[in-house]
């Protein structure tokens, strides 16, 4: 996906950044721990964070699954031969792409919360699923459309029905472009999960916020938090890249 020209420098930058963030992630907590804790709390940031990481990664994973389900359904709807279905899907995708994710989260949690109690975690997963689903719909649609039309036609002329051709011939090929693109969306989600901190979910950022406020230690805490996110996204981007390469080769 990235043009080959810049690959070498990007790879170098990746190595430097991963190295630096590991170094600082290991080094910084010890300094933090030595700062006197006015709140009387003896837990260091590093001890508190595993919960946050679990929430962040857990929400990312669940949201990604939700978005894939929504996106697949909407994407197939875009390819439907019935105009009504296509208009309905367009309404959904255009509306969801027009509303900020943070507003959507507030809407689900507080506004819909007036009618039935929505747990924060559910609100987060629904919000991400519907928001990202609107983008993933396009990924599924484009993936199917990127498979040359002759593939389906060849399958038909060899005796397959339309559905057989879609599932046995077109989809396996479409996944080559769909899977890496979903990986990139999930990477974006990993960063966007920081928004759930406003719903009082104790993800990485929320824990950082609370720690920083309690200890009046903003600089080191936020540096640590930023590096942690950087480390996680760099790691995940490597995973996505590997998937991408495998799919491009295979």
């Amino acid at each position: 996906m990235t043009p080959p020209k810049k690959d070498r420098h990007t790879a170098l930058a990746w190595n430097i950044l991963v190295g630096a963030s590991i170094f600082l992630l290991v080094f910084l907590p010890f300094r933090s721990a030595s700062v006197p804790s006015p709140g009387g709390d003896f837990l260091t940031l590093a001890e508190l964070l595993p919960t946050g990481i679990a929430y962040t990664l857990g929400i990312t994973l669940m949201s990604s699954l939700a978005a894939i389900v929504v996106g697949f359904a909407a994407g197939m709807g875009m390819l439907s031969s019935r105009p009504g279905v296509r208009v309905a899907v367009s309404l959904y995708t255009e509306a969801l792409r027009g509303i900020p994710l943070l507003v959507l989260l507030f809407y689900i949690y507080y506004a819909l919360g007036e009618f039935f109690a929505v747990p924060a975690l559910a609100a987060a997963v629904f919000g991400f699923g519907f928001c990202y689903g609107a983008y993933m719909a396009d990924i599924f649609r484009a993936g199917v459309q990127a498979v040359p039309k002759e593939q389906a036609e060849a399958a038909r002329s060899l005796g397959m029905t339309q559905k057989q051709a879609l599932m046995q011939i077109v989809m396996p090929q479409a996944l080559r472009t769909i899977v890496p693109a979903i990986g990139n969306q999930t990477l974006g989600m990993l960063k966007d999960t920081s928004l759930v901190s406003v719903l009082s979910i104790t993800d990485i950022l929320r824990i950082g916020n609370e720690y920083a406020t309690r200890h009046f230690n903003y600089f080191e805490t936020y540096t640590y938090i930023a590096l942690l996110y950087l480390f996680l996204t760099l790691l995940m981007s490597r995973v996505v890249q590997t998937i991408e390469q495998r799919f491009n080769r295979g």
Binding site: P148, E153, A154, S157, L158, G159, P172, Q173
Partner: protein, 361 residues
Amino acid sequence: MLILDGIKKSFAEQTVLDGVSLRIREGERFVLLGPSGCGKTTLLRLIAGFDTPDNGKVTIANQDMSPVAVEKRPVGFIFQRHALFPHMNVYDNIAVGPRVIKTPENEIEPRIEELLGTLRLSAKRAAWPGQLSGGESQRVALARALINRPRILLLDEPLSAVDENLRQSLRDELRDIQKTFGITFLFVTHDREEALTLAHRIGILHRGKLLQAGTPQELFEKPASPFVVRFLGGYNRFEGTVVERIGAGAVVKTVEGNRLQVENASWFAVGDECDVYVRPHHIAIGGPSEFTHPPNIWIGQVKQCTPMASRITYKVQTLSGKVLNIESARTTLEAGLQEGRQVRLALDGRYAHVFPRENDD
């Protein structure tokens, strides 16, 4: 075998096929030849069932195809880029057809092995489509289509994506395979040479109409329209008026003022406006002392002389200002007549084709 009857098809108000009727015989290699956009691929797709005609009927082996779904039609389709399934190896690609109709694997295997043997593909049984050469890929596409035992094979410019220097040998291979299997071929191309090499009969399609169908020989000797002449090779066109009738022939006076005696013009009367077509190799070229006998001896000056491997092509300007394309065989070591030289030309009136004046393009 295949009968097309008054096929019409439009896309978005644009007429693509305008009443095409055609009969193709069992075991024939028929080539549909025409410029891009003439509707030839659309016609093929209608036969395969990928599209539906607005009007007219497709009959294969005495069966009307209108109610038959794509997957049930007794046709094989070979695509421009072969459309092998990239996620299956050669064996599985070929097995798709029999597997769809739930043929037991132990029946499929010997059939595929036999086909692989016949098509010199046995060593490629487990290869992936991406690892095949252009020729192998074509043979796999053929095997995949042939295993279903179709009544007719439809080929949509399968050689156009192939490298120039491979094309000749793939063409020969296609011929051989058709002979081996004795299957009816309907081949579509825009490449004149390809059509001439492959076809028993050629159909010339232009703007959705079948202008002429016949053997290559018939098309060259008795072209049904000016387009057929122009599309099948180099030509000189003379606009003129019939000034005299001689037997079945006539004398045409061209707008430049030359007199041209032609042999086959029985449909024309004195005074008729007409276009006369003469192929470059039907004009003989010689020094100022040659061709002393009329008719159709013109004088000119060589403007351009290009030696090719087996021929020399000239552009010669006649005294009247008209520039003629001339082609002569290159059988001697001579370089041909140099640029600037005065020459005499002899136009062979036997091979001139006369048509009523055309005014569009």
